[in-house]
């Protein structure tokens, strides 16, 4: 071009299509999400949360989770993430004020409430990441070979919703108080009040907290849980939405119809959820709990394997194989007719107190019936083996609970001899984890007692090669299982040294 042009062609006027500001909001939201997820507190919280969850889930529930318990186990970790998101989202909203860019940003096309929405969307993204973590944790539990039962989606939602709630609160707080010290201070106060009130509150106020624990460790069939999980998720979701839409209202979106409607709707949802979750355990569940505790046989489905009938709640049917293996191990060591005497393994649970308290089961009095609980794995296996051996030797669970003679040695040997490390298992089933002296043997029903002499004799017997010991037990079976047989006589029959310890039941 050789001539100077003095007028440049005017640029075509930029027309904004109606959806453009939403595109801007979503672009900003992606930016804010990246910023939020790389903030130090959030990174630390996610790292600790994931590491802790992986560490715990490796060995949780002894490898035999009931999914109606596993869903609740996903709720506490996300609170840590939620606090970090609260703090970081609050800082992020205050960022522009801190760096004095608010004045520049205020004259941009994207309104202030649009920026708030972007921050809220970044919080939602953090909640989504949490949901992925929660999903991963639950899937891991569900894929364990020993998993039974059914999880509740509402319980699984609590974790991500807590993050959403806390993060939304952080954004709202930044729109209410511009001081950077407000968020950390409020977090301390919230944490303190939560621990303080969480421990002292009872009834419906407990359910105002994001994550609500239980007071017992019992595993119930999923239809007897009776937690208002869906109402609680509704309450949390409503509250999170209410806080978030209030934040939009406060950042200049007061005239937005959608925001007004969202606040009204969210408050309504919160109230419905709060009322719903405060109504306690429904009548039908209470009745079902009584039925399951008093007359479980009416709910059972039974399977027969090798002269043993396994009657369990339908959700536990897949566990029959594990029980059968434990019963088979004990029976294989027994002598006389105990190898093929009919047995009934009956699953029982004390559900009348729900998840508020633990209670022990009374021993079964009918001959040949053994109780199995709803939990499995770890110590539960040895305890079950002791119960089976007790019924094989003493005839019934009630009679085994009253054992106070030399038969105790046989019972414990039958239960433990086939375990990979019998002495370690002995310590595990005994109260106080001892392997010498007298002690109580923990069981699913009434505890058993071992005297010093019996413990000593059992240790001697366990030290023999297993085949040799088994031959001796089978040979002397009638005498070893005779009522009132003394410990000294048992030692004599087994050809072992007379124990020196005291031999008095407590």
């Amino acid at each position: 071009m050789t001539t100077a042009t003095t007028t440049a062609p005017a640029p075509a006027p930029v027309t904004t299509p109606p959806g453009a500001s939403w595109a801007a909001v979503s672009a900003l939201a992606r930016f804010e999400t990246r910023m939020l997820l790389t903030r130090v507190p959030v990174v630390v919280a996610f790292t600790v949360y994931v590491a802790w969850t992986v560490w715990r889930t490796r060995v949780s529930f002894d490898g035999f989770p009931a999914l109606q318990d596993a869903d609740r186990a996903t709720q506490d970790g996300p609170l840590l993430v939620g606090l970090a998101v609260l703090l970081s989202a609050n800082h992020a909203v205050l960022r522009s004020r801190r760096h004095d860019t608010e004045r520049h940003l205020d004259v941009l096309v994207l309104p202030r409430w649009g920026r708030t929405v972007a921050h809220l969307l970044s919080v939602a993204a953090a909640a989504l990441v949490t949901a992925v973590c929660v999903g991963g944790q639950f899937a891991w539990e569900a894929l364990k070979p020993g998993a039974v039962g059914h999880g509740s989606p509402a319980e699984l939602l609590v974790g991500p919703l807590s993050v959403l709630l806390l993060g939304g609160f952080g954004v709202l707080l930044a729109r209410l108080v511009t001081a950077p010290f407000a968020a950390p201070l409020l977090i301390v106060l919230l944490l303190f009040l939560a621990t303080f009130l969480g421990f002292s509150a009872s009834g419906w106020t407990r359910w105002l907290m994001p994550s609500v624990g239980t007071y017992s460790v019992v595993t119930l069939p999923s239809d007897l849980i009776g937690r208002p999980a869906a109402w609680h998720a509704l309450y949390l979701g409503g509250l999170a939405l209410a806080l978030m839409s209030a934040a939009v209202l406060l950042s200049g979106g007061a005239r937005l119809r959608t925001a007004q409607a969202a606040v009204a709707g969210a408050v309504a949802l919160t109230l419905i959820g709060a009322v719903g979750q405060s109504r306690g355990v429904p009548e039908t569940v209470t009745e079902a709990r009584v039925r399951a505790s008093v007359t479980p046989e009416k709910l059972h489905t039974c399977v027969e394997r090798d002269a043993t009938t396994y009657c369990a709640f339908p959700e536990w049917q897949p566990r029959t194989g594990d029980w059968a293996r434990a019963v088979g191990d004990v029976r294989a060591l027994a002598g006389g007719d105990a190898q093929d005497r009919p047995l009934v393994v009956r699953q029982r649970v004390e559900a009348r107190y729900g998840l508020d308290a633990d209670a022990t089961l009374t021993p079964l009095t009918r001959p040949g019936e053994v109780t199995v609980g709803t939990a499995w794995g770890g110590n539960r296996v040895s305890e079950f083996a002791v119960a089976v051996a007790g019924v094989l030797v003493a005839g019934s669970e009630a009679a085994a609970g009253e054992l106070c003679d030399g038969r105790m040695v046989t019972v414990m040997w039958l239960a433990l001899a086939d375990r990979p490390d019998p002495v370690a298992d002995l310590r595990r089933v005994r109260l106080g984890d001892s392997d010498t002296g007298s002690s109580i043997v923990v069981s699913q029903t009434e505890p058993l007692q071992m005297t010093s002499a019996q413990t000593e004799l059992l240790r001697e017997l366990l030290e023999l090669p297993r085949e040799k010991a088994a031959a001796k037990v089978k040979a002397g079976w009638a005498e070893l299982t005779a009522p009132k047989v003394t410990t000294d006589r048992v030692a004599q029959v087994l050809g072992l040294e007379k124990p020196e310890g005291e031999n008095e039941c407590l």
Partner: protein, 286 residues
């Protein structure tokens, strides 16, 4: 004239980034301009010379004092005025209170004399009228002048000014040049700037910094002379030029190695500066 500030081999790294690379300098009384593209290390050099941040390697002295010891640094600071690139303030202080506060920090303990000094520097920067106003109520240019007053208070022998004219309107900038020129009488002033006119009008010496290293050190006339015979005019943009742009006259002004018989133009300081920098940094498109 014997140098008041002499530095040799100053180096500073931020992680893998080399902010200063063996910088050696001698400054004598008068105004020295520091030119360089963004990220050249100007602010870092000024912060090092103002003792706000220690260098990794290298030594320097200010008026015979070595700031690599706590005591020496304090002696240097007693003789130093520093205007940072982004000065901060206590917004609730009035301009007078703030300058007075800095004066206390500069160990001016006699209250009456200090107040007189604070008023003097505020008058000097043209803020005598508004010295009772809170800083939060002052405009950006006025705040910049409050910071300059804070740098000038206590009559320092060595003045370090980091882009003092940024954000000022033309009239304020003229006023600032006047101030700096006055300050340069008898003092050593080191002035970092992007404005080649500032350097052309104020400085008796100019240092060009790029990539953390000194690329030129001499008088403004010498820097301008570098472009002598290397600026020419043409009808279109000369593809062989390092930089070329259309002027208001409609012809192109090219900087670089001219073709034979080109219509040579009188160079400016800016041409010399552009030629000193690498072609990549100097690439200017109209």
């Amino acid at each position: 004239m014997s140098p008041t500030v002499s530095a040799s081999g100053l180096s500073l790294h931020y992680g893998a980034t080399r902010a200063l690379d063996e910088v050696s300098l001698r400054l004598s009384p008068g105004v020295t301009g520091l030119l360089g593209p963004n990220g050249a290390g100007k602010t870092t050099l000024l912060r090092v010379l103002a003792t706000a941040v220690p260098a990794d390697r290298g030594t320097f002295t200010v008026l015979g004092h070595d700031p690599s010891t706590a005591r020496g640094r304090q002696e240097v600071r007693r003789r130093l005025g520093y205007l940072p690139q982004t000065p901060g303030f206590h917004p609730d202080f009035t301009a007078f209170e703030f300058v007075d506060y800095v004066a206390i920090l500069k160990e001016l303990t006699d209250r009456g004399a200090r107040h007189r000094e604070a008023r003097r520097v505020l008058d000097e920067v043209g803020l005598g009228e508004v010295r009772g106003k809170r800083i939060r109520k002052l405009s950006g240019g006025m705040r910049q002048r409050v910071a300059l007053a804070a740098a000038l208070v206590g009559d320092p022998a060595f003045l370090v000014l980091d882009e003092p004219t940024v954000g000022l309107d033309p009239e304020q900038r003229m006023r600032f040049r006047e101030l700096i020129a006055t300050a340069g009488e008898g003092r050593t002033v080191l002035l970092s700037t992007h404005q080649t006119e500032d350097v052309a009008m104020l400085c008796h010496r100019v240092v060009v910094l790029a990539g953390g290293a000194v690329r030129f050190d001499g008088t403004p006339a010498e820097l301008t002379a570098r472009a002598s015979g290397r600026v020419w005019s043409s009808e279109g943009r000369d593809p062989g030029a390092l930089a070329g742009w259309r002027t208001g006259l409609g012809t192109f002004r090219n900087v670089g190695d001219p073709p034979p018989g080109a219509d040579l133009l009188e160079p400016t300081l800016e041409d010399g500066y552009l030629l000193t920098l690498d072609g990549a940094a100097a690439e200017v498109t109209a």
